[in-house]
Amino acid sequence: MSDPKNTFSLDGHEVPVTAGQTILQAAEASGSWIPTLCHHPEFEPHGSCRVCTVKLNGRTVSACTTPVRAGDVVELDTEELKGLRQNLVQFLFTEGNHFCPSCEQSGDCRLQAVGYALGVTGGHYNPLFPSRRVDASHPDVLLELNRCILCELCVRASAQVDKKDIFALSGRGIDKQLVVNAESGRLADTNLALSDKALSVCPVGAILKKRQGFLVPIGKRTYDERSIRERDLDRAKEDPQ
């Protein structure tokens, strides 16, 4: 048993915590998986997708942004929270046009893999079937806004790593959308390059490199052989934060 002063309670188990850790980091270090979509270990936590929602001392918070302290009580896998996370994933599916059978990203998609791991079998809500833009203007990159979940990972990668500020979010509420920083609004009129970090962080199939969609066959993809739970925990073990 660890020193109770340096542990917090995660679903009734005492889990070690070091100063400055978020709930997500401490949970992953102890081998507990918390689903995430807008989170990427190389970027500052964002806290916008809410699928990492847990209860900290009785209040719902996002595990990726909230620090945990010794003595805290965190609920993760309660029936209530599992249902809430399923609902959040269902919202994302019904708000966009996510047709997995024709999507190049199928098998590599975090939204899909999180849906599998959470046992989301159906949409539950009435789908909105929005009409969104597809930008195929760039010779090497396809922008498919029907699949965008507004995680802002490409926005952050383009600003912080590529130093190009190519992407941004615009609008409010249900009309919020990803926009391209060019007068024409077209990807072809930006200085986006194939090596840009912004092209490799999309958790869904919204930003795709052209002519690469089927280089890896269905059945051999990121989350085909190992679940997102196992993959995320392996990554956390290799690269503890």
Binding site: F93, H98, F99, C100, P101, S102, C103, S106, G107, Q112, G115, Y116, A117, G119, T121, G122, G123, H124, N126, P127, F129, S131, I218, D224, S227
Partner: protein, 181 residues
């Protein structure tokens, strides 16, 4: 389990029968299944209207008025209704027309599309069911008790689902069996 067999109806609405093919892909397990269930209205029996049933397995979404009638009739007759496959659950491939005007689609297919000889007509026989403006998943119209995703769901997923349900367990598809594609 009692000796009485469960009555199962199946149908394909706006689907491709791929999910039915996947059901047949459970191969010799069909023999085990037939010990437990008997089929009511289904493409497998050619019975057109369902009687009272325990279970309805429905493939395909709703693209026309007839689909809606068939679905409502099944919902009235069955105790448990299962949306089987991507089209029943999301609208699927047929729903990719949802952002197009249905008149433009018909004009393009029958009047103005490439390779047409000209002088065509948009079919308007009164026996033909009218297309809906948009393709809908089943749960837009009736209560759906279970969703069995996949395009199609694999034979193993269908078998896992049916054996869970027939044994009185909540169906649970683990990693590798749950698929949206």
């Amino acid at each position: 389990m009692s000796g009485k067999k469960l009555r199962v109806a199946t149908t394909s609405l706006a689907g491709c029968f791929g999910c039915h093919m996947s059901l047949l892909d459970i191969d010799e397990r069909l023999i085990d299944l037939l010990e437990l269930v008997e089929f009511d209205a289904s493409p497998l029996t050619d019975k057109k209207h369902p009687g009272p049933c325990d279970l309805a397995l429905i493939e395909g979404g709703l693209c026309n008025a007839e689909n809606v009638h068939v679905l409502r009739e099944l919902r009235k007759q069955c105790k448990i209704l299962v949306a089987v496959g991507a089209c029943a659950i999301t609208g699927g491939l047929p729903a990719q027309r949802n952002n197009l005007d249905v008149r433009d689609c018909l004009r393009s297919v029958y009047l103005s599309g490439p390779g047409l000889a000209g002088g065509g007509l948009i079919p308007n026989d009164p026996e033909l069911p009218l297309p809906l403006a948009q393709v809908h998943p089943l749960h837009d119209v009736v209560k759906v008790d279970y969703f069995l995703p996949g395009c199609p769901p694999s034979a193993d997923a269908i078998w896992q689902f049916l054996t869970d349900l027939l044994a009185g367990r909540t169906p649970a598809l683990g990693h590798g069996l749950i698929h949206y594609d």
